[in-house]
């Protein structure tokens, strides 16, 4: 629509004519639009130039870039950093293999992943941030090699074909507990890394992934319960869902942090991270239940009736007929919920965990930046805003693509 050229023209129109045409249609279609365009243009130029000038003049950048280690993994021991790094490479490996076997949308995701990793890797290579301590793999090497791993295993997966699908699915399901164990350690010669050392982006990702993975079974059960024909079960499920959805996440975190230790016999000490995880899971389950319920409701009644008429029992009907269809329909919504959760985990700062935002706040408060004129908060917050943004923006794009595909296969 931006370059609508009248079809009667037989000659190729000159570029300048095209530009004038485009400008008239899109910026100066009326005197009112023209005024708006000019005002906005001035505004945009102003903002961009002053922002650009600020980027080059400000002296706070070292605060963000010398502390990348803190932002990404917080106080996770530097000599054990290879463990999260292996986790990243594992994800890259599985992503490549899956993209090779399934193709389609996953290939797009893999290409996006390779692109982002390659660009960031090159940036890290060309503008090396001062790294402290001995790291197994420098950041640029990790980024570039994960891009390479995904690219390479893509072809492996393609060669492997469909027989890789089931093993891959199982591996994906095992990945989450495996990564958590690897990062925690405490077995087979791996030193135990206490959860109070975890933090930064590592913690943000762990919390949000746990939130969605752990809340999945509970959320599905709640959704089924809310649609149950048994009034008692239905009532309990509605009460739970509406109670949780009626209060802010912060109150649930607050409750988890204060009450969870009390609920256990003998008043054991409960790890702050576990408390936050339980709270996030309980919170997320209520929203997941509503999303899944939406999927269940979108199915025609005839599906259950046909299953019943064939003699399938209730459990078989749910597992074989309704749930697979409902879950497929709500994948985009669930990705959206994951994005929200990814952003919302920043609230754990308030109960005293150092996730990405918490790490940033700590860095801003470091005494060595006190002398920097204007403080370093703008630079540090800008960097973590960019990190958050890249993650949620790419995920929301993915969810949009999935949605388009789901809609397309409906017809």
């Amino acid at each position: 629509m931006a370059t609508r050229v009248s079809q009667q023209q037989t000659r190729l129109p000159r570029t300048s004519a095209l530009i004038v045409d485009w400008l008239r249609q899109n910026l100066f279609s009326s005197w009112f639009n023209a005024i708006i365009s000019v005002v906005l243009l001035v505004f945009v130029v102003q903002v961009i130039t002053s922002f650009g000038r600020w980027i080059f003049q400000t002296q706070g950048w070292p605060a963000a870039f010398t502390n990348l280690k803190l932002l990404f993994t917080w106080t996770y021991p530097i000599d054990q950093i290879w463990r999260p790094q292996i986790a990243v490479l594992l994800v890259a490996l599985l992503l490549g293999l899956s993209a090779g076997t399934w193709r389609g949308l996953l290939r797009g995701i893999a290409i996006g992943f390779i692109g982002i990793m390659a660009v960031l890797g090159l940036l890290a290579f060309l503008l090396p941030p001062p790294v402290e301590g001995q790291v197994a793999l420098p950041a640029w090497a990790l980024l570039l090699s994960s891009a390479a791993v995904t690219g390479g295993t893509y072809f492996l997966g393609r060669a492997g074909g469909e027989r890789l699908r089931w093993p891959l699915l199982i591996t994906w399901f095992l990945l989450y507990p495996a990564v958590v164990l690897l990062i925690r350690g405490g077995f087979a010669g791996l030193t135990l890394v206490n959860t109070n050392l975890w933090g930064g982006l590592l913690l943000t990702l762990l919390l949000s992934i746990s939130g969605i993975v752990l809340s999945f079974p509970l959320g599905v059960l709640l959704a089924l319960g809310r649609r149950s024909e048994f009034p008692v079960i239905k009532f309990f499920c509605i009460a739970y869902i509406e109670l949780i959805r009626g209060v802010p996440l912060i109150t649930v975190l607050f409750m988890g942090s204060l009450l969870l230790p009390l609920f256990l016999p003998g008043g054991e000490r409960v790890d702050q991270l576990i408390r936050a995880m339980v709270a996030v899971t309980l919170f997320s389950a209520a929203y997941l239940a509503e999303n899944v319920r939406g999927g269940l409701q979108s199915l025609p009644r005839g599906q259950t009736e046909a299953a019943r008429a064939l003699g399938l029992n209730t459990v078989q009907t749910i597992l074989l007929i309704t749930l697979p269809q409902a879950l497929r329909a709500v994948i985009p919504v669930l990705v959206g919920q994951f994005i929200s959760l990814f952003k919302d985990t920043s609230l754990v700062v308030i109960v005293g965990l150092a996730d990405l935002l918490g790490a940033a706040q700590n860095i801003v408060g470091q005494p060595q930046w006190l002398g920097t004129p204007g403080g370093v908060w703008r630079e540090v917050f800008l960097v973590i805003a960019a990190i958050y943004w890249i993650f949620s923006f790419s995920m929301s794009r993915t969810s949009k693509r999935i949605e388009e595909q789901v809609n397309a296969t409906k017809h």
């Binding site: 931006a2 899109n26 910026l27 279609s29 639009n33 708006i36 365009s37 906005l40 243009l41 945009v44 024909e229 048994f230 009034p231 008692v232 079960i233 309990f236 109670l243 009626g246 209060v247 802010p248 996440l249 912060i250 109150t251 607050f254 409750m255 204060l258 009450l259 230790p261 009390l262 609920f263 256990l264 016999p265 008043g267 994005i339 952003k343 919302d344 920043s346 609230l347 700062v349 308030i350 935002l357 706040q361 204007g374 403080g375 908060w377 703008r378 917050f381 973590i384 805003a385 958050y388 943004w389 949620s392 923006f393 929301s396």
Partner: protein, 398 residues
């Protein structure tokens, strides 16, 4: 046709195969497990609390709170009780929620319309705004705004915007209309305006009903009332020699601003953050609401011979509004719930006050109960109001 009765022997069904009894058993077992689980948690909690000698009680509510609250809608000082402090928290939450909802709706509608603009630059700027704001955590945005307001200069060197807005590290000072001495001359005009407007509205509605024709009454009634008020406004100037309302420009005194209204940096940061964030979602609702109606309806309306204005007023807007109300309700609720992040910018909302009370008294259980009940009732009241409004527009426009 065979006339013999079919060979049936009435056997009694074992209870574990009877669907009705199975249904009852399943529900009873479920209830026992849930209630038993909750009871187990409750018993553990009470044991634990008994051990540390902190059994839940509400008696602390009548004890003097002893901590100050930075801003309050009602009069408050540290000698007042915890109960009163809690109410201050609730009122502060309601205050930020109401102001936030109004401003976010306004900004959201503007944003939604900009997203549909035919102007390429405007449309894409609006899109950029949406994509930037919604992919960054609200808490980070709030903290950013808070740091920004804290980075403003001292009151004495405050940044002046257009002579009516002053930014400084204590907050934001705004010029605000104040009643002048000549206001009493204007009051009769206002009363007459309201009366005429109401009478006009009633008469028009009766006419519509009698003639059985649809029509617009409210905008005209408002116009009449406003017109009367405006005439009175000017008339007051000529009769009394002074405008009835004056815009009070804040004046810088030695340490502070005199006149106008000043909101604290915390309130300003929270409000800006909530409004900018929520407006994105409201804008998307407005945009998709308008787009959902546009398909075909516009052509159909034009084909019936309605003018573009009538199309917008009678066809597009009522339908878009109907689509928009339910998601808008949930955004309003989200804004209210998100206002609990106030603790990050030190605005004494419900959650902030409650957590302070908990820190001082150690009465976690009653505090959490009160906190949850308050949020639930705020949510409930908001959705009741919106449902009422929703029902009303569905009826009126049918």
């Amino acid at each position: 046709m065979a006339t013999s009765t079919p060979p049936i022997q009435r056997t009694s069904i074992p209870f574990y195969r009877d669907t009705r009894i199975i249904a009852i058993i399943v529900q009873v077992v479920f209830a026992i497990i849930v209630i038993g689980g909750l009871w187990w948690l409750y018993a553990n909690m009470m044991n634990g609390l008994r051990r540390v000698n902190l059994l839940p009680t509400f008696s602390f509510l009548t004890v003097s709170a002893g901590f100050p609250i930075a801003e309050s809608v009602i009069a408050y000082d540290p000698s007042m009780t915890y109960g009163q402090a809690f109410i201050v928290g609730i009122l502060n939450t309601v205050r930020i929620a109401i102001v936030g909802i109004i401003l976010a709706t306004f900004l959201g509608v503007v944003l939604g319309i900009c997203r549909l603009s035919s102007n390429w630059l405007l449309r894409n700027l609006a899109t950029a705004y949406v994509e930037i704001v919604r992919n960054i955590p609200l808490l980070l945005q709030l903290i950013f705004w808070f740091f920004l307001t804290k980075a403003f200069p001292r009151v004495q060197e405050s940044i002046e915007v257009g002579g009516v807005l002053f930014l400084h590290n204590r907050g934001v000072t705004l010029a605000w209309p104040r009643l002048a001495d000549s206001f009493s001359f204007w009051v009769p005009w206002l009363l007459v305006g309201v009366a005429v407007g109401v009478i006009f509205y009633v008469i028009r509605r009766i006419q519509f009903v009698r003639r059985d024709r649809p029509g617009v009454a409210l905008p005209y009634a408002l116009l009449i009332a406003l017109g009367t008020a405006l005439v009175g406004f000017v008339a007051t100037f000529f009769i009394a020699g002074a405008w009835p309302l004056v815009l009070e420009i804040p004046q810088l005194e030695r340490f502070n601003f005199e006149g106008g209204i000043t909101v604290t940096a915390s309130f300003a940061a929270l409000l800006i953050g909530l409004v900018i964030y929520t407006a994105v979602f409201i804008g998307e609702i407005v945009r998709s609401g308008i787009q959902a109606v546009n398909k075909g309806q516009r052509e159909a309306a034009r084909a019936l011979g309605l003018t573009p204005g009538q199309t917008l007023r009678l066809v597009i807007f009522p339908q878009a509004l109907r689509i928009m109300i339910p998601p808008l309700t949930s955004q309003y609720l989200n804004l209210t719930k998100n206002s609990s992040l106030a603790i990050a910018v030190a605005y004494p909302d419900l959650f902030y006050v409650a957590s302070t009370i908990n820190n001082q008294t150690g009465q976690a259980v009653p505090v959490i109960l009160m906190l949850m009940l308050s949020y639930l009732s705020v949510s409930l009241i908001t959705s009741l109001l919106m449902n009422w409004y929703n029902r009303r527009i569905q009826l009126v426009e049918r």
